[in-house]
């Protein structure tokens, strides 16, 4: 039963993939499969962090600015110092900004929207001023390999994504911190009463999101060889969209990283498939939108039919639920 529970999304993914494979001979090539995996991985890594933050009850509009900062700082460090310090620098940027977000939200009690929206603005402002809006060139070989290499035909970037997925899965399901992320997102007040260190959990959830955004920024640097201050602006909304399609509630407490994986692949396959089918770029957003709608409706239908395993409220046929999440 539990295993069947969220098959919905995977079924949609399988169906869409099958249909595309039938419709497009080039879609079903090995090369293209490699491409799909590589193309989805960056955003997938960001989405892993976003999922942790969303399950804890928040979300982060600054992942784009954080990613861009990590890539610019990484490029500058790579050009002047080089080597593994690039990694350290980029991840530290992500960690520090994630902590700052978490602090504002958990301690100063600013809501997540305002805090991360403001943070995004502030970070972008500093970044543009420092760089004068110019890109910085330079990426260590390590990053380039990680972002563009292949291991036995599998894109390294995808392997990194899978590693991040596995780590996130482990943290969420096999550690106390992960368990607390769910409990804080489900009911912060009850968790507090039960002795869960709510603020610390919130701060660490945002720190995790920051580090993963930083990591994605570094990999973007490896992929494009430049740290560009205006890059990654679409990350926040796209990562949130992946998570929501993957069943992570915007209201917190609910979500599974496996489904985030499925949602990442689904959106990636659609984008790639539409290109393979030569669908006009004008139509692409519309079709993507439609498929998302259908996927979510099917997923929901599937979950409602599986008895006794509802996430959230046990919704009776006519009982209204919260609009968000």
């Amino acid at each position: 039963m539990t295993r069947l529970r969220r098959l919905g999304l995977w079924l949609v993914l399988a169906t869409v993939t099958l249909l595309l494979a039938i419709a497009s001979p080039t879609f079903r090539t090995v090369l293209n499969a490699q491409n799909v995996l590589e193309q989805t991985s960056l955003l997938g890594i960001v989405a892993c962090g976003m999922a942790v933050m969303m399950i804890s009850g928040g979300f982060d509009l600054s992942v784009g600015a954080v990613g861009a900062s990590a890539s610019v700082v990484g490029a500058i460090v790579a050009a002047h110092v080089g080597g593994p310090l690039t990694l350290v620098a980029g991840l530290l940027v992500g960690l520090a900004l994630g902590f700052a977000n978490g602090y504002l939200i958990a301690k100063v009690r600013i809501n997540a929207f305002v805090a991360t929206f403001a943070m995004s603005n502030i970070v972008s402002g500093v970044l543009f001023t420092v760089t004068d809006a110019q890109s910085h060139v330079g990426a260590p070989a390590l990053l380039t390999t990680a972002a563009t290499g292949r291991v036995l035909g599998v894109p390294t970037l995808f392997l990194v994504f899978v590693a991040v997925l596995a780590a996130t899965w482990f943290v969420l399901t096999r550690t106390k911190f992960g368990h607390y992320v769910y409990s804080v997102g489900g009911n912060a007040e009850a968790s507090h009463l039960s002795g869960v260190p709510v603020q610390r959990v919130q701060i660490f959830a945002f720190a995790t999101g920051g580090v993963l955004a930083g990591a994605a920024g570094l990999l973007l640097l490896g992929q494009t060889q430049v740290g560009q201050p205006s890059a990654a602006q679409a990350w926040p909304l796209n990562a949130i969209a992946i998570c929501v399609v993957g069943g992570v509630a915007l209201t917190g407490g609910v979500g599974r990283i496996e489904d985030v994986f499925a949602a990442t692949l689904l959106l990636g396959v659609i984008a790639n498939g539409l290109n393979q089918l030569n669908v006009s770029p004008y139509w692409q957003p519309a079709i993507t939108g439609l498929v998302i709608l259908v996927a979510v409706v099917l997923d929901q239908y599937n979950r409602r039919r599986t008895p006794g395993r509802r996430a959230g409220n046990p919704a009776e046929p006519s009982r209204p639920t919260a609009l968000v999440g």
Binding site: T26, N32, Q39, L42, A133, Q134, T224, A231, N275, P281
Partner: protein
């Protein structure tokens, strides 16, 4: 206002966006040249939003600047605001993006995106003398450069029936998406089935480098604009060439014209900067201005 030669003039630049590297370099060149003329500059960010750009022009009018330079992301949307500037007697120069009829302009400085597209198409014709199948990677759907450059390319290709456009995906002028789009094109069109990929923007270097590293030397890549990354990719052989619209030249010329206007000298109605093609042949002699 009495024009006084000793007075410190302030000129306002209503910029379409200040965070695009190309435009940022243009802004810097504009500011530097204005300073040489003893003029102060104010730059406002239009955030690629029509209403915001109109509002910025209104703000410059309220600031009582002496002249307004407009870089617009839509040829029509700023016309009402410029008319307002006309009414209160502030001269307006259009820079980098041509505007529709309707408002009174001192001058237009820049290039034409139409000619820009034509320039790219000419490179394409030169690279594929025997014709072939090409894909064109568009910018953000609906934006003026996207539309105009494509129209320019098509106008040239109309007289070269040997070159067929087989796909027009969009990378939205984003590095990472350019890579994805290029990968998709290369897997859709295996070796020997596509001859060239032309992008409307400088992001093409990412996809071109990917192709080079993966041995797809059967495809010719052409970019638009000349950034440092494009320069490197032309040198490495990944890119065949690009069309260079110099942001520095445009910024400087706009500042010159502003100064001429404010000091009572005459200004040409239109000044199009050259759009030289950069290929392996002349890349060494022409270093890129921005990155």
């Amino acid at each position: 206002d009495v024009v006084d030669a000793d007075e410190n003039h302030t000129i306002g630049l209503a910029e379409a966006s200040t965070t695009i590297p190309f435009l940022a370099v243009m802004d810097d060149a504009f500011t530097a040249r204005a300073k040489e003329h003893g003029m102060k500059t104010v730059i406002l960010n239009g955030e690629l939003d029509n209403a915001k750009q109109a509002a910025n022009i209104e703000t410059l009018i309220a600031k009582q600047v002496d002249l307004i330079v407009v870089v617009s992301s839509n040829p029509t949307a700023v016309i009402p605001a410029i008319k307002h500037a006309n009414r209160v007697g502030i001269p307006v120069i259009a820079l980098n993006a041509k505007l529709d009829e309707g408002a009174e302009l001192v001058s237009y400085v820049g290039c034409s995106d139409y000619q820009y597209g034509q320039g790219e198409a000419k490179l394409l014709v030169e690279a594929l003398p025997n014709g072939g199948d090409v894909a064109i990677v568009l910018g953000p759907p609906g934006d003026s450069p996207t539309v105009q450059r494509l129209a320019g390319m098509k106008s040239v290709l109309a007289s070269h029936p040997g070159i067929r456009i087989v796909a027009t995906p969009s990378d939205g002028f984003d590095n990472s998406r350019n890579l994805a789009v290029t990968q998709d094109l290369l897997s859709k069109y295996p070796r020997g089935t596509i001859d060239a990929i032309v992008a409307e923007g400088p992001q093409m270097y990412v996809g071109a480098e990917y192709a080079r590293k993966n041995g797809r030397d059967d495809v010719v890549f052409i970019a638009g604009d000349y950034s440092k990354q494009v320069e490197a990719a032309i040198k490495s052989g990944a890119l065949y060439g690009t069309v260079d619209q110099s942001p520095v030249l445009q910024g400087q010329r706009a500042a010159d014209f502003a100064w001429r206007k404010l000091t009572g000298k005459d200004v040409p109605k239109e000044s199009l900067i050259p759009l030289p093609a950069i290929t392996r042949a002349n890349v060494a002699a022409n270093p890129a201005e921005w990155g």
